[in-house]
């Protein structure tokens, strides 16, 4: 026996278990996409998001996860999970949705915008083949979420719009298993897929990046108007919705933007939609900016409060009093939070325990202190 044969024979037992597992194959992640139009010369037009990419054969859309193959459009990220964690629902953040519960949170690669402040750019701005992933079909996901003692599945970290085929199927599997489904999105999606989504999920949190088309163009590479339309549609469809606004020093922190945003919410959605002003940390392409000063967040909240919004929060500042929910009538704390934990809960069947004022939200499934 020569040295090579000896080494091979010695190594085989170590390799055997791996060899027995099915080799990961790209094919299992690929399904025909929904929401597209075929065009002449094997081109297609994507109808998933307002960008409406026109895509040649063998090319991908802006999101990097949907590909034209011979005039047929495919999602490359069906069940291709690159991240799965059990998170408090408060981390999404969703504050009026089953507080204290856990969300089994999953992501794939890809995104249909390119925010310069993205915290998850390693996955959101990558192509699927650049990220290690696990094949997790819908029923397996529902089973894993149940095993983890989570009460919901959260489609998050990257933009769920770009893996909508999987979200729609997984949400059905989740519901069949008694789980709720929540989507964390930038809201840059066309109406038809949005309506499909609204039929299957229980809450949608929208990251509204700014109240400024200029910001959307320069910092997000997207558009504001379609996102506002999305939020209004979600509200009309009766799906629970909260809005997060990441406040970035010098870029979207003017009084005019805060006031314009608060007025739009009150007029178009009503005063009861929770609005979270969250603190920016330097990331990705905006490492040259500082953390958001807490007084800036407090100024934003004061403006939104003054415009008449009932539930305005400050986020990413653990221990800040504005993490808690206050009854808009008696001003007592009804849900007290410390970071992602619930430290006190004073709601009874969705009403303030002190003055019986109804507090809007989805309180069923709340696991409180």
């Amino acid at each position: 026996m020569d040295r090579r044969r000896f080494l091979i024979s010695a190594a085989l037992p170590c390799l055997a278990p791996r060899a027995a597992m099915p080799a990961p194959s790209d094919a299992q992640f690929i399904v025909e996409a929904r929401f597209y139009e075929k065009q002449p010369y094997r081109k297609i037009k994507c109808k998933l998001c307002p960008r409406e990419c026109s895509i040649d054969d063998q090319e991908r859309g802006y999101c990097g996860v949907r590909e034209n193959r011979g005039g047929k459009y495919y999602s490359l990220v069906y069940a291709r999970l690159c991240s799965a964690n059990r998170d408090p629902i408060e981390k999404k953040p969703l504050f009026h949705f089953a507080p204290g519960s856990m969300a089994f949170s999953v992501a794939t690669a890809g995104c249909n915008v390119n925010c310069k402040m993205c915290q998850n750019w390693e996955i959101s701005q990558s192509r699927p083949e650049q990220i290690r992933a696990t094949y997790t079909p819908p029923r397996t996901l529902a089973s894993l979420a149940g095993q983890s003692q989570s009460s919901s599945i959260a489609y998050t970290y990257n933009e769920p719009t770009v893996f909508i085929e999987y979200v729609l199927d997984a949400a059905e599997a989740g519901r069949a298993a008694g789980l709720k489904n929540v989507v964390i999105s930038g809201g840059y999606i066309q109406r038809e897929p949005l309506l499909e989504l609204c039929k299957r999920v229980d809450a949608i949190k929208i990251d509204l990046k700014a109240y400024s088309e200029k910001f959307y163009k320069e910092v997000v590479n997207g558009e504001l108007k379609p996102v506002l339309d999305t939020i209004a549609t979600i509200r009309k469809q009766g799906v629970w919705n909260e809005i997060v606004y990441l406040v970035i020093p010098t870029l979207n922190d003017s009084d005019e933007q805060f006031k314009g945003l608060a007025r739009w919410i009150k007029t178009e959605l009503g005063p009861d939609v929770p609005l979270h002003f969250t603190r920016f940390h330097p990331e990705y392409l905006l490492k040259n900016l500082p953390d958001t000063p807490v007084p800036t967040l407090e100024r934003a909240k004061a403006i939104a409060d003054a415009e008449g919004l009932n539930y305005v929060y400050i986020g990413n500042v653990p221990g800040h009093p504005a993490e808690s929910t206050y009854c808009p009538k008696c001003r007592r704390v009804v849900v007290e939070r410390m970071g992602f934990s619930i430290s006190a809960f004073h709601l009874d069947r969705g009403k303030c325990q002190f003055c019986q004022t109804p507090i809007p939200g989805v309180w069923e499934g709340a696991l409180h202190a």
Binding site: S54, D56, Q58, E59, C63, K116, Q125, E129, Q130, Y284
Partner: protein, 323 residues
């Protein structure tokens, strides 16, 4: 400064004014060589490899203004350097991809110039793209390496310039000392044309993010990323059967026999020249200009501006040479 530029960009920009970049010197005339041979692909069939090698020699010799082709090839890289050949294979086999016969000819000339096979790397975005374009990756008996970016991986630190932030292929950053770009002359349905500058979208992890606004300023910005800007030494554009419409996919009905190689050390001058050739063909076929088609390749002018200075798009500074 472009929007989103950082203090580091400013610093680099200031330095850039004093550095001589490989391939092009600010203010100097840029030579673009168009080497033609109507018999290189007789009857539109297979390439005549001997004639193509001759065409290649004429092109490179004229770029470097040397007395012999070998002398010119020796100017591109030293024998101890690893030379990367960046091909464009996206369109697959048949056309609109860099022809493997051209790549073979370049490899042969590099060998003759003293570059050993082990120091030659042919690369593009994906290993599968190379195979689909007809490169016999697995069956080669020599030691030339064929790498997709999926083989070599990407750097983990972002490279940033202007509007782009990308992870660069390790083939560029860690494997190659010098790069010869071998793009294809063709129309592009979003950014107008794709040749020398656009070819380096195949060196980054997120090219899909940079096609908006007809690739402006992204194409120019990607070429400013230091490993790309510093390592590319020559561009030889495959214009044997260019495509004036329907690109970047291969659409044979819009390809025509131009039977040429276009070579330059200045990617901007090469792209400007190639763009004009495509516009002439479009006009001859009754098609609108790329501007009228709303995809004028304005990124070419951007690459020549004061923030980039990757070359010149000024016709008065482009010395067009027929060889």
């Amino acid at each position: 400064m472009p929007p989103g530029a950082t203090r580091r960009d400013l610093f680099r920009l200031c330095l850039g004014g004093t550095l001589v970049r490989p391939g092009w010197t600010a203010g100097a005339k840029s030579r673009v060589v168009i080497a033609r041979d109507p018999m290189v692909r007789p009857s539109g069939g297979a390439l005549d490899s001997a004639r193509l090698a001759g065409l290649l020699d004429r092109a490179v010799q004229a770029v470097y203004e040397c007395d012999s082709p070998l002398e010119a090839w020796k100017k591109i890289a030293r024998p101890n350097e690893v030379v990367g050949l960046k091909v464009n294979c996206l369109a697959g086999r048949g056309g609109a991809s860099t022809n493997p016969v051209l790549v073979d000819a370049v490899c042969e000339r590099l060998r003759q110039a003293g570059i050993p096979d082990k120091n030659i790397v042919v690369w593009d975005r994906l290993h599968a793209d190379l195979e689909h374009a007809g490169f016999r990756v697995a069956s080669r008996k020599d030691r030339i390496r064929f790498l997709g970016n999926d083989d070599s991986g990407y750097e983990s630190e972002l490279a940033i310039f202007g509007s782009v932030g990308s992870l660069i292929s390790k083939t560029v950053t860690q494997v190659c000392d010098a790069v010869i770009s071998l793009p294809v002359l063709k129309d592009h349905g979003i950014v107008g044309v794709t040749m020398a500058l656009k070819n380096f979208f195949g060196s980054i992890h997120n090219p899909n993010k940079y096609h908006t606004n007809a690739g402006d300023p992204y194409v120019a910005d990607v070429n400013m990323l230091p490993p790309i800007r510093e390592k590319v030494r020559l561009h030889i554009c495959d214009a044997i059967a260019p495509q004036y419409e329907g690109g970047p996919s291969y659409m044979p009905q819009w390809a025509w026999p131009f039977n040429s190689l276009i070579a330059s050390r200045d990617p901007v001058a090469l792209d400007y020249t190639g763009w004009r050739i495509i516009e002439e063909q479009r006009a001859a076929k009754g098609l609108p200009t790329l501007q009228a088609a709303k995809r004028e390749p304005v990124y070419i002018a951007r690459a020549a501006d004061a923030q980039h200075r990757l070359g010149t798009n000024d016709p008065a500074l482009i010395e067009k040479v027929e060889a």
